[in-house]
């Protein structure tokens, strides 16, 4: 099963591509550090999206060429960025007012586990070491939509979509949608609702890889992404 999964599953770039298809024109969006940042690469043409970074920029663009970095112009991952036309700067309290105050349209995060009630665990493996939370606990509150991009299962094959998170929580009941390597799943009152799946996997197989009931509600659309 694992070998077959590795053959059919979407790559991180393809998951990012799929999530990017839902970016709305004119949206204010925060992309989490790492994997979620890749979504900006696949922003559909003809749509204008304003990206927010916690350290005080709205409207930043891609990284500059090497040697052209300005270290006062970085994103939350401390990577050098550029400015798009219409960008603005602000201090940290205003930045998180945009987050908590419900002004962002979308926040995209990575996940260790997402529970069927929308709880998210993505900041600590609970194994000791140096704990670090950054802005994750803030970002899950206030954006109009909070979504996750993730592999459907862990490297060991354990479900990442679970009935209850066993790892330390980032937020309670905060996630609306999950884009995985196998499916697109919404979180609604009844729990996980399957919206899209790869053609190569059956609903039963998908259920076996998911730690809680996958509810079916209307059509299940085809999850398809170009080779990237």
């Amino acid at each position: 099963m694992k070998q077959r999964l590795d053959e059919i599953k979407l790559s991180n770039a393809q998951i990012a591509w799929r999530a990017a298809q839902d970016l709305r024109d004119g949206a204010y969006v925060n992309l989490g550090i790492g994997f979620p940042e890749m979504i900006a690469t696949f922003q559909p043409e003809g749509r204008e999206v304003i990206y927010h970074t916690e350290n005080g920029i709205l409207g930043f663009g891609p990284s500059p060429r090497e040697g052209e970095e300005d270290w006062d112009l970085i994103n939350a991952g401390k990577k050098a960025v550029t400015l798009n036309s219409g960008a603005s700067f602000f201090h940290h309290a205003d930045s998180f007012a945009m987050v908590r105050g419900g002004h962002l349209d979308l926040a995209v995060l990575g996940a260790y586990q997402v529970a069927q009630n929308g709880d998210l665990a993505n900041w600590s493996t609970g194994k000791g070491g140096v704990p670090a939370v950054g802005g994750a606990m803030d970002l899950v509150h206030g954006a109009k939509k909070v979504v996750v991009v993730t592999d459907h299962v862990t490297k060991n094959g354990d479900p990442k979509l679970v009935s209850e998170c066993t790892l330390p929580l980032t937020g309670v009941g905060c996630i609306n949608r999950i884009y995985t390597s196998l499916a697109v799943v919404d979180i609604e009152a009844q729990g996980f609702v399957l919206r899209e799946k790869l053609d190569a996997i059956s609903v039963d197989e998908l259920q076996a890889l998911t730690g809680a009931q996958l509810h079916l509600d209307g059509d299940i659309n085809l999850l398809d992404a170009p080779k990237l």
Binding site: N55, I74, H91, H92, A93, R100, V130, D138, P168
Partner: protein, 239 residues
């Protein structure tokens, strides 16, 4: 009124053992490296430091930690490309960590400067960072109580400043700096450029001088990223 002084060592000379010190910046962006290094030269110990991070490499805040000046750190993200200065001491139990979500850290500092002793936020509710904090429902939603943060001193960095302490910032180097300027008993600023009073357009001033006590000009300041790429250590090891 003239809040500007020439000597960076004089600027930090009064910071005594046991002080609480806010240090501006997000990583190296907006970090007052020269003020931090002057504080290392002065050498007060047992400091509580409030910063978003825990230093990177062997300069700035990381160097302060290496010099055993910091007994407690209040921050949101004590990791970096090279976090060894903090990590080694934390794992050895030599430095205390209060981990605060980034937006809560910013708001606690803002509240400290604004005379608000505590506030309610959804951030952290239901997580281990909410343990021991009072909770309350507003309009059917749960929130946790967070206390404000104040400091004896703030060390911050700005772009332009004048003798009244009016400040502007450079791009994303603004970050925590204007908030910390408001929340400290004494705010010490390094500015890239000191200009005569009246020369900064009032419309452009981000931090009004009322929040500032001392301004020192550091032209062409060093940047943490450049120092780390050059593998610089502070203080330089002389053999």
């Amino acid at each position: 009124m003239n809040k500007s002084i020439d000597s960076i060592s004089d600027a930090v000379a009064k910071i005594e053992d046991g002080s609480t010190v806010m240090i501006g910046g997000f990583g190296g962006s907006g970090a007052p490296i020269e003020l931090i290094h002057a504080l290392i030269d002065a050498g007060p110990k047992n400091l509580t430091v409030i910063n978003n991070n825990a230093g990177n490499g062997h300069v700035g805040l990381a160097a302060m930690i290496e010099q055993e000046m910091v007994s407690k750190l209040i921050c949101s993200f004590p990791r970096s490309a090279d976090p060894r200065a903090f990590t080694d001491r934390y794992l050895a139990g030599k430095i205390e960590l209060e981990l605060v979500p980034q937006g809560t850290l910013a708001e606690r500092i803002r509240a400290g400067g604004a005379g608000i002793p505590a506030f309610y936020t959804p951030t952290g509710f239901g997580t281990e960072l909410a343990e021991g904090k009072p909770q309350k429902e507003f309009d059917g939603k749960p929130y946790i109580e967070e206390r404000c943060l104040k400091a004896d001193y703030a060390l911050i960095k700005a772009e332009q400043g004048d003798g009244f302490g009016n400040l502007t910032y450079r791009m994303a180097a603004r970050n925590f700096n204007p908030l910390m300027a408001m929340a400290a008993e004494t705010t010490i600023v390094q500015v890239n450029q000191l200009v005569p009073v009246g020369q900064i357009d009032p419309e452009r001033i981000v931090t009004p001088g009322i929040f500032v006590d001392c301004v020192v000009e550091i032209q062409n300041p060093q940047q943490e990223e450049d120092l780390n790429r050059a593998d610089v250590r502070y203080p330089e090891v002389t053999t």
